[in-house]
């Protein structure tokens, strides 16, 4: 399928690893210009080298923390200088950290201090908001744009039984934010969509499951098999599988698809629509 993305300029925050990087690989393969943002210089540089092997001079990276508006603005300025106006903004920053000492995104409501709530709000919500806000003027000028956010299936089906009060609160909030943006931006030729991921075998997912298996005294494979029991496809998804859907949504072919939050969970989601 010709996605019609040649020479489109795509900015991807959290783009050096996992779903962000898998998306960058597909978009680069489609001829897009890629700008990656990430916090760790070494990983970022390595990702850029891999992208430029696909098409020389098709990618560069900007190192920075996307919870700071000044860093997002610097990312945009550098993108303008090198490639011009932005066509596609993909927010993948702000994943909750895996903390081997305390577990994954720990915290029930009564255990979570306000300062932690505020910090996660910056990570999960503000990063997406800053990127969209700074990219929108470019897209309005071109009367074409794509804004996407890598969210979680917990936006729609919060995991209330786990100590995940922060993602349970913030993921749906971001989905609501993008739903509102979608309504306002469609008149400018800009679509806004959320990707609700579930059980995707990223590096972070492996780290977490390794830690959890260790904690429970079972093997990694046993844990994964247990976690996939309720998934019709019987396995975790791959970053590439999420990335291909993102690439599809970036395409002009998907111009009438906006405001959507589709769960990609291998069939595990309980609802009909």
């Amino acid at each position: 399928m010709d996605l019609g993305l040649r020479n489109k300029v795509a900015v991807i925050s959290g783009g050096s690893k996992g779903i962000g990087f898998a998306t960058a690989l597909i978009l680069a393969g489609e001829g897009a210009k890629i700008v990656l943002a990430a916090r760790t210089r070494a990983t970022l540089d390595d990702a850029v080298v891999q992208l430029n092997k696909i098409t020389p001079d098709s990618a560069f990276g900007v190192c920075g923390d996307m919870t700071e508006l000044a860093n997002v603005q610097a990312l945009m300025a550098e993108t303008h200088r090198v490639y011009g106006l932005v066509d596609i903004a993909i927010s993948n920053a702000g994943a909750l950290e895996t903390d081997p000492a305390e577990g994954h995104a720990p915290g029930h409501f009564l255990q979570t201090p306000p300062a932690e709530f505020a910090r996660k709000f910056r990570q999960l919500s503000l990063t997406a908001w800053y990127l969209a806000r700074e990219a929108m003027p470019d897209m309005k000028a071109k009367r074409w744009g794509r804004i996407l956010n890598i969210n979680s299936s917990s936006a729609r089906e919060p995991k209330w039984q786990l100590p995940h009060v922060l993602p349970n609160t913030l993921r749906p909030a971001v989905a609501g934010m993008h739903r509102s943006l979608a309504r306002r931006m469609y008149q400018h030729g800009i679509t806004v969509n959320n990707i609700l991921t579930g059980n995707i075998a990223t590096e972070r997912w492996r780290d977490y499951h390794t830690w959890l298996a260790d904690k429970r005294g079972i093997s990694f494979d046993e844990l994964v098999a247990e976690r996939c029991k309720a998934t019709p496809l019987g396995r975790p998804g791959t970053p590439h599988e999420i990335a291909s859907y993102i690439a599809f949504l970036c395409s002009p072919l998907a111009g009438s698809i906006t405001g959507q939050s589709v769960p990609i969970t291998g069939g595990r989601s309980a609802h009909i629509y």
């Binding site: 019709p232 111009g255 989601s269 629509y273």
Partner: protein
Amino acid sequence: MDLGLTGCVALVLGADSPAGRYCATSLAREGVRLALAGADENRTQLAATSAAAEGQITHVIAAKAGEEDLGKRIADNALARFGAVDIVVIVLPAMPPAFLDEIEEDGPIIEAWSVLADYAAVCRHLVPGMQKGKWGRLIVVGSTEAKALTERPADLDRMVVLGALGLQKSLSGELGPFGITANSVLYDNAIIGSHDALMSTAAAVTYLASRPAAYMDGIVMTVEGDRGKGTF
């Protein structure tokens, strides 16, 4: 993006509709051979011509609604022509406008039910082949009327589409272990007449049929421009 569909066979039910024609053409562009079924033979032939222009083999199957064992006959016909079917797409037909409380005879209800029954029969006959091959795609295309009540007399449409979505969800759960996914695409009636909306609908169907979409199962993709009201 390589969708990995070259050489696959798709059966498109409702190929006589504009959405059916766009889906057929889009799939053909990816190298898919097509069996096309529709109640209106001329319009189904139009879809076949459009898909054949992409260089693919097409096969037209007449499908008059109400025929006994219609689903089985369509499935058998497609199997006889191609040997196997990898992808089934059904574009649900528009039902007669009606409010349920104003319907006096059961004819329209039975007609609506027969759409689901025919689709189920097609799946029943084609899924075993997909199970053997450990790969298959079942895709329903219908109207967004299913998701929200409107002032339109679309009660029958809503019933058929919701029934189909529920069936898809069950198929997803049952057939996922065989590498068979069951998904749906809903379009907004108000915009589906436009080329852009038809193109997005067909592209969504084609993407869901693809190999990279292997982890998308039991989902509904909605093509509604800025007309959607819900967050989910």
